[in-house]
Symmetry: C2
Subunit: 325 residues, 2 copies
């Protein structure tokens, strides 16, 4: 009976403990999310009335800027303020090798024994959906568990930067001097989704140049000029020594106040929930494609396209017809 | 009547000219793809019997390794062999700023007047789908236009690396010495999808170390040991001087021969076509979600989730029910 109880947990009790901040219950619920457990729906229905309190902060930046160290410094500073912090380290770029590499990246050992900090690594599964699959559900768990701040950190760059920004209330872009790709990243549009810029390794040569480049881009961007708009601050830190973490916290608090007073928080969370609902619905549709057409049907359509017997649009039409009756 | 004809091109004639290699017709068809034209289905149906000849080569690597220069060198070497080459430069990382930055990245001026080379920049639209939306259709156009080799180059890294590898017959991973993220990229699993490794800037300090690191990873990976398996070669180039381009071409030809003889080409193209069909079907489903529930319905569901009146799974169920009758 013990093992049966382990496999089919009393969901109500588990959620109750998680909402009271029990770290083991939180971990258990996130495992249910990762394993796409059939009880997830029940969990989601129970969590929904407990959410909305945590500020979700996304930390992003190219490898080498000091993301893990910065996360650790911010967590330390939040703890000094008495805030409870959840950390989700996500690896969206590796559908093949899974999340195995995350263990060694999360340099958070100093917080491992602090029960005001919950740290979890998570590999987002597969191509389709990327972060949009399991991560929003994991965020709901952490939010319901009454963490004051939930930090999401990603491994990797590119698409993931934008996905993080679509999940977070506040997006922090980390840069560092001497990274050739700092400006390339900026050019690729990442500037446009950052709420706070942090130039880490500010004790190194070139840090001032990165700050100047950012200021220049802000000035030519011109999108922060309107009244009531948020103008992303540019901060300098030396995360290895904890320098500047207080400034980061102040910027996070200021952005949080602006999000609440401007109505932007509701807008962002609304579009986040809409994307989440759509992603779940599309996930269901994909499963229906598989069951409606039988195993191997998609591969057979693909083979017919390759043979020139049909085109992909016509094959897609048939797939959609199979589930819409 | 002239302007009407421009807006509703004679699709049959356009496809006919593209298949004969007319660059303007090819460009026109790719514009139809980019604009998601209603005549695309007709185009796809006509193209389907003309495809399958081109070797699709994906070039990928972090910013700064010399992707554009390498692409240009490979194009030059292919032209010396008399091969016709299509180049698709894709920017998947920038849903906000669009493809505006691509213009200055494509350092292909030397090939601009060569009618055996067709170069096109393309911004993949939006978040969902990423490359999976328009790029496969653009590849079909270039394939039908009888280019011998079609090169896809991406801006940015991360998710895009994997998407490129899922679209290409042969994936070339570019690395360079002195990029701190070379090994990070490798750790993130990108090694596993590369068919050819190219260490560019091989005249710089540290190039041999990158080669050694790659060899070491191959040796501990152990997945290339089986008979008949492809063992990715590790090549050195100095793309700015065209050095090593011949070796890259030889590796591409060897991989192409292996793809054909091993049956792997059919496997890869089959899974590519299956993913393409599914992506088109999911695109249709998203449109149906919007029409079945009316404008703003998804946002209303999202607001109800935020208010705690429903959970995202229940909202997704309703969305799926709305199209499955």
């Amino acid at each position: 009976m013990g093992s049966v109880a382990r496999r089919h947990p009393d969901v109500g009790e588990l959620v109750g403990r998680a909402v009271d901040g029990d770290a083991r219950a939180v971990a258990r619920l996130i495992s249910l999310v990762e394993n796409d457990s059939p009880v997830l729906r029940e969990v989601a229905a129970m969590l929904v009335s407990h959410g909305g309190h945590a500020q979700v902060v996304g930390l992003t930046g190219t490898p080498g800027v000091g993301k893990s160290t910065s996360t650790s410094a911010v967590v330390g500073a939040l703890r000094e303020q008495g805030k409870r912090v959840g950390v989700l380290a996500v690896d969206p770029s590796s559908p093949l090798s899974g999340g195995a590499l995350l263990g060694d990246r999360v340099r958070m050992q100093e917080h491992a024994t602090d029960d005001g900090v919950f740290i979890r690594s998570m590999a987002s599964r597969g191509h389709l959906g990327g972060l949009s699959g399991a991560v929003p559900q994991a965020l709901r768990v952490l939010d319901a568990a009454r963490f004051d701040v939930v930090l999401i950190e990603t491994v990797g760059v590119g698409q993931a930067e934008f996905e993080i920004s679509s999940l977070a209330d506040t997006t922090v872009l980390l840069l560092a001097p001497g990274m050739g790709d700092g400006i390339q990243a900026a050019k690729a549009g990442i500037l446009e989704v950052a709420d706070v810029f942090v130039v880490n390794k500010a004790d190194r040569d070139g840090a001032e140049q990165v700050v100047r480049d950012l200021r220049h881009m802000q000035s030519i961007g011109g999108r922060y000029l309107g009244q009531g708009r948020w103008r992303p601050p540019i901060l300098k830190t030396v995360a290895t020594r904890g320098e500047g973490a207080g400034d980061v916290l102040a910027a996070l608090a200021e952005h949080w106040a602006w999000l609440n007073s401007s109505g932007e928080l509701t807008l962002r969370r609304n579009s986040r929930a809409a994307a989440e609902i759509e992603a779940l619905a599309l996930g269901q549709v994909r499963q229906r494609f598989a069951t409606a057409c039988g195993p191997g049907a998609l591969e057979q359509s693909a083979a017919r396209v390759l043979a020139g017997d049909t085109d992909p649009y016509t094959a897609a039409d048939a797939l959609v017809r199979s589930i819409s009756g």
